[in-house]
Structures are given as C-alpha cells and as structure tokens.
C-alpha cells in the first residue's frame, strides 16, 4: 500500500529501518527534507556504501514505483527522456498515402503521443495511482556535462519540453535520488538544487547492525570479527577500501564456507571478496592479514559484549 511522505525525521528513520536499511540520523534528516520539500537528494560517497540502496528502500517501503536511470558517457535525450517510434511513424506515412488522408494533418498525426516512446525521465513525470514514483539517477558522474546541464531544467521544474508536443509537467514531483561516485565533480549549479549528503563508511556499531540484518545466518562472533577486520582495513592505505557491500559479500561467502570464526588461512583464501585490486590483495594477504586479525581478536576480547 502506498504510504504518504513521513512527517518528521523520526518517521523517516523508521521508514528506512522498515526497509532494513540502517541509516544515520543525519542521513534521515537529509532524506526527510528531500521528501518533504520535493527536492532531489544528492548522495555522494565511495562505491559500496549503500547509495543506490536508499532509493530502492524508499520505493519499496513507501510502495512507489522505482524508475532507474543508469548514467553513462554519451547518455542523450533519446535514451534518457523520449524517442519517437520511427518504424511506426514510417508505416503511418505509407498508410496515409494509401488512404489519401490529408497532408496537413500528417505532421500532427505522426508526432503524437501514440508514437512516443517514454524513457525514464519522462516516465517519472507521469501521474501514478500509487503517488509520485521514486526516480533514481544513478552514477551521474558517469554522464557527461551536456546531460548534466539538461538535467538542471528537469530537476528544477520537473518539466520536459518536447518540441512537437509541448511541455509535459509532473502533477506532483517524483521523489528524486541522485547518486555519484565522484569520478568527477558534479557542477555546483546542479548540487545547489539538491540536498547534499556524503554517505560515509558506517562505524563499527552500525556496521555490525547492518551485517546482522543482511546476513542473519552468520554467527555473532563471526560478524563481529568481520566488522572489526573491515574497519581495520579501512584504516590501511588501500587503493580501494572495502565498502559495506563488500563486507556483506564476504560474510555471505564465509557463511557458505561454514566458518564460525575468522582465521588467517580463511582470510587469505577469501580476500578476493573484500578487495578488488591485486595491489591491495598482495599488500594485505599473509602476515599483514594475520597481524590485523590478531589486533581485532585482542580488541574483541577486551571489549564489552555487544548489544
């Protein structure tokens, strides 16, 4: 059942929690503002910290349709906004010849909504019985600057102009989530129209909470060790630190291997689930992994039992 927009930060937090997304209160605040004031939420952060997930969770828990636009270099209007159905248009022209229909109306005819193929941005402006959909514009940094500039108009007024038809305007703006991995800086003009939030790696307590939720089959000791180890790794100088997604993957892999605690051999064998660059793996594998693990074990032994 579609839910209305939450009334305050606490409700937003509860909403995300209901979608099994463990969020910081700070993130919930930004999300609440975006929902309440109908502006896009701009999420930036390292890969694998759960940016895309937020949009998915919002769509599921609020019972809205999720429309996803994956950005890439060269993404243009015909792939992102609308395209005409050319083959049907040509058929229509031939048909018009056969029936000797009036030539004057032909132009109106073939550029009507019947021949319009709606791409994600246009779909997001359509009224929906479940309420405005969730529009996810994923990895905007991959698109090029011209597309970003086009997006400015769409995100500011939620309207799209098709020369042959006119301006299409959303009755209520969609819930928009824009994500970026920061492979380049997004222009300030676009960010200015959004609520900005930098999604950071979670702290140990929160990460444990996430792991318990996402991999319920893992033994509590294992989860705790995984969190400790991953948090330690993030302190190392790595080319790509493991994100939450990698931690979840790794725990899943360990559960599949029937491990209940970490040991150096297991770490060395499964490090590929956690680190994705050969240099990083070479750096951590072996003695370094053993050293980090012993640190983690020592800390867990002295720490009070987790909640």
């Amino acid at each position: 059942m579609p839910l209305p927009v939450p009334k305050n930060v606490d409700e937003t937090l509860a909403l995300l929690k209901a979608g099994s997304y463990v969020a910081d209160r700070s993130l919930a605040t930004a999300a609440f503002l975006a929902l309440k004031l109908g502006r896009p939420l701009f999420l930036e952060g390292e890969a694998g910290v759960g940016k895309t997930e937020i949009a998915k969770v919002l769509a599921t828990t609020m019972g809205r349709r999720l429309i996803r636009l994956q950005c890439y270099e060269g993404l243009d209007v015909s792939a992102a906004v609308y395209e005409w159905n050319y083959s049907r248009q040509m058929l229509e022209i031939r048909l018009a010849e056969a029936t000797e229909a009036s030539r004057e109306t032909l132009e109106e005819e073939i550029f009507s909504e019947r021949f319009l193929i709606r791409r994600p941005l246009l779909q997001a402006l359509d009224p929906d019985p479940d309420g405005p959909p969730v529009l996810l514009i994923d990895e905007l940094d991959r698109a090029d600057e011209p597309f970003e500039a086009y997006l400015l108009e769409v995100l500011a007024d939620y309207q799209i102009t098709i020369p042959e038809i006119g301006t299409i305007r959303a009755p209520t703006p969609p819930i928009t989530v824009v994500t970026s991995n920061r492979t380049r800086e997004i222009h300030d003009a676009l960010k200015r129209r959004c609520y900005y939030y930098w999604v950071d790696y979670p702290d140990a307590v929160r990460e444990l909470e996430i792991l318990r939720l996402k991999v319920p089959g893992a033994a509590i000791d294992l989860s705790r060790q995984v969190v400790g180890f991953v948090q330690k790794l993030r302190g190392e100088e790595l080319f790509k630190s493991p994100g939450v997604a990698e931690a979840i993957d790794w725990t899943n892999a360990l559960v599949q291997l029937d491990r209940v605690t970490l040991d150096p051999t297991t770490i060395n064998e499964t490090l590929g689930a956690l680190l994705k660059y050969q240099d990083d793996i070479a750096k951590i594998r072996g003695p370094e992994a053993a050293r980090l693990l012993s640190q983690v074990q020592a800390e867990l032994a002295t720490a009070p039992p987790a909640r």
């Binding site: 503002l33 243009d76 380049r184 960010k191 609520y195």
Partner: protein, 416 residues
C-alpha cells in the same frame, strides 16, 4: 559530542532568520558558494525539520549549505562557533564583533580554527569582506601561520608579473598549440550530410514537412571534443628555471579548453586547478604561489604519483583523460616505488605523455634511475631542450602529432 547536546542559541525568538542569514554570510565569506536563494532554502528547511533536536538542526543546515565533501570541515567549525553561545550570536547582528575577543571567551578551543573561517569571521567584524583576501602580497601574510612540519624545505615564491608583450606571445603560442591527442570521438552525434549514420529523427521531421511523399534520409556523425587533460608539473629545484613559464602554460591551457586539471609537485602534490581558473594570469599565479609550499625543493616523484593515483586519479581521469607529465625525472628518493606508480598511472589514462625539459642536447638517453623507471610506462616521450617560452612547449607538444611515438623506438633506432 557534547556541543551538539547544548541548547540551540536564539532558537525560540524571532531572530532565527536573521541568524541564519548571518551564518550563511560567514560561510560565504569562508568560501562556500552560498547565494541568497540558499538562505531562503535554509529557512524553509528549518521550518520543516523543526528545532527540537540540535543534531537535526545541524544536519538540516548541512544538507542545504554543504555542496562538497571538503566543505564539511569548514561547516562543522562554523556551526560550532556560531550556534554554541546564544549571547555571542545575539551580538553578531550588530556587526561589532571582533574575533579575538570572542575567542578569548572561548575556553580552550580543541583544534585551531581554519584560517579561512577566521578570516571570514573577521571580515564580518570590520565589514570589509568584499575585498579579496589575496590582495596583500604573499609572503607578508603567511609567515605567521607557518605551522606545518619543518621536515621539508618549504618555500614561498613570488612571480614576476607578466608583461603585455609576453601575454600576446603566450596567446599566439596557445593558438598554435596542438595537443598529442587533439580530439576524441564522443557518443553524441551532430547533423552531418556526409555522416555515416542515418539520423531518423531529422529524417522523419523533414518528411512530415513535405507531407510524406519523399522520405529523404538525413545523416549524422559523431561529435568530436578534446579529451580531459591532467597535467602533473614538477616544480622542484632542478626545474626551477622553468616553473614560471610552465605555470603560464598551465594557466593558458586552463583558459583555452575545458576539463583541464592541473597539479604541481615537488615533495608533495598540490592541486592548483581552482587557482588557475582566475582569468587574470598574475592573480592566478599569485594564488598558486600562495597555496604551494614546496617550491624549488627536492623531488619525490614516486610519492607524489602515489598520492595522485590514490586520491585524484579516479576523480580526474574518469572520462578517458590524457595525462601530461612535465618533469626531468630526477628523483630524490632514488626512484623508489616509481615504476609501480607509473604503471598504475599509465593504465588508468588514455595516453601518458612525458615532457622532459632536462635535455641539453638532442641525443638524450634517460640514464637517471627515475627516468629509467618511468620510460617503459610512457606512451609518448617528448624530450626538449631550450624550453624557454610557451612557443617552445607548443612546438614540442605539436610535433609528431598523430603518430604514436613509443619511447623505446624513439630512444633506439629509427622509427618505422
């Protein structure tokens, strides 16, 4: 943290809007791009989110005012200072505040305040913040705040101003400049009668205009545009005599095309892209001079490249960038780790061009450890001697354009 639990200053009374405005002005003076629209936005956001919780208030303003990750620190400090003490913030509207007094009332600040923020707050006091803060000559203002480590020889530099004759020569040189990779295809198209692909959208539009009797195909071709360019420029002691000219080159390059990212390195890496955006070349250079700390010192190429690879390569080399490395390859650390970093750099860009101004004669062969480690990972080696002007650089970069010049071939026998 405890400061967030403190009651919010000036929350209940009607001065909130005024306070938000002053807060925004302080942030703006500290360098955050905040316009009047943002202030209105902040007021609306605060009304919606409420003031019950100091944490929420913090993050509400954060969502509105902060645009980039590196602004978080300034925002955090400004928020802490501005919203901590109700009386203090109540005094602010009078604009009679002088910062040192305010800090005197502050029991032992835990970390030194950001210089930008300090300047912003002072600017509020004497109401002269319209004046650009770098107008004072560098060197006079900086000595007092030199608090960083003394391990390296950190030097400031003052550049001679550019004469109008030089300026004209520079413009002429840049107009002639052809980069080793001049243009790349994009996935976008433009109308082109000689294009290879049919442009169905234009075709149908034209057809509808003629009433559908004739379907005349229109064509399109890929658009070309210059690739992004990342320039890593050595400013160590051995390169000293080139540094002014090279910075002029970087400035002219940034002005003449989009997507140019400039870095300089000696013992550390500094991103000077933003400083070079200032139109006026002298102003840009004085800003660069102010933000770079390792002029004419030693070189740690390996270390600086590692830093670039770790922190910047993913952000500036994303869209198939060309990297231009300007260094003589003399490395203080004996090329330690240099080969590996060069390999990574080479693999993460479209093309790696090394411009080496060391050459005193034409038959140069890289003998130094650093140069030997770098050679195998360079796509294009451009040795140069007598690099005295922008015209020389333009000429060196323009040579052999279009032909892949592998260094091994160039250094060895004749090219095929």
């Amino acid at each position: 943290m405890s400061w967030r639990d403190q009651p919010l200053g000036a929350a209940g009374d009607g001065t909130l809007v005024a306070n938000l405005m002053h807060f925004a002005r302080i942030l703006r003076a500290a360098g955050l791009p905040i316009g009047p629209g943002r202030v209105a936005e902040a007021v609306r956001a605060v009304q919606v989110a409420g003031l019950a919780n100091r944490d929420d208030f913090y993050w509400t303003l954060h969502a509105v005012f902060v645009n980039r990750r590196d602004q978080r620190h300034i925002f955090d400090q400004a928020f802490r200072l501005f919203w901590r003490d109700p009386e203090w913030s109540a005094r602010l509207p009078a604009l009679s505040l002088l910062l040192p007094q305010a800090r005197g009332a502050d029991p032992t600040p835990k970390e030194p305040m950001s210089r930008r923020l300090a300047e912003a707050l002072q600017g509020q006091g004497d109401d002269k913040h319209a004046r650009p803060r770098d107008e004072t000559p560098p060197g006079e203002t900086f000595d007092a705040v030199m608090t960083w480590s003394a391990r390296e020889i950190l030097q400031r530099k003052d550049f001679e101003q550019m004469s109008s004759e030089e300026l004209a020569a520079a413009k002429a040189a840049m107009a002639r400049l052809v980069m080793p990779v001049a243009m790349v295809r994009t996935r976008r198209y433009r109308a082109d009668p000689a294009g290879a692909r049919a442009d169905l959208r234009a075709t149908l539009r034209a057809t509808a205009r003629t009433g559908g009797d004739i379907i005349a195909l229109r064509f399109r071709a890929p658009r070309l545009r210059p690739p992004p360019l990342a320039v890593l420029c050595d400013i160590s002691g051995s390169m000293e005599r080139y540094s002014r000219m090279l910075l002029h080159f970087l400035h002219a390059l940034s002005a003449s095309r989009q997507r140019v990212y400039s870095f300089v390195f000696g013992t550390r890496l500094t991103n000077i892209t933003r400083q070079l955006r200032f139109r006026d070349v002298d102003e840009a250079l004085s800003r660069v001079a102010g933000s770079v700390e390792d002029w004419s010192g030693g070189t740690r190429i390996g270390h600086c490249l590692a830093e670039f690879n770790l922190h910047w390569s993913r952000r500036v080399l994303g869209q198939n960038a060309v990297v231009l490395l300007i260094t003589d390859g003399l490395d203080r650390e004996g090329a330690q780790g240099l080969a590996a970093e060069m390999e990574r750099l080479h693999k993460s860009c479209r093309r790696l061009v090394w411009l080496n101004p060391l050459l005193r004669y034409s038959g140069f062969e890289p003998k130094f450890l650093g140069a030997r480690a770098m050679m195998p990972h360079v796509d294009d080696f451009r040795p140069a001697h007598n690099l005295q002007s922008l015209a020389d650089i333009a000429q060196v970069l323009g040579e052999h354009t279009g032909h892949a010049m592998r260094p091994r071939i160039a250094a060895g026998s004749t090219a095929a």
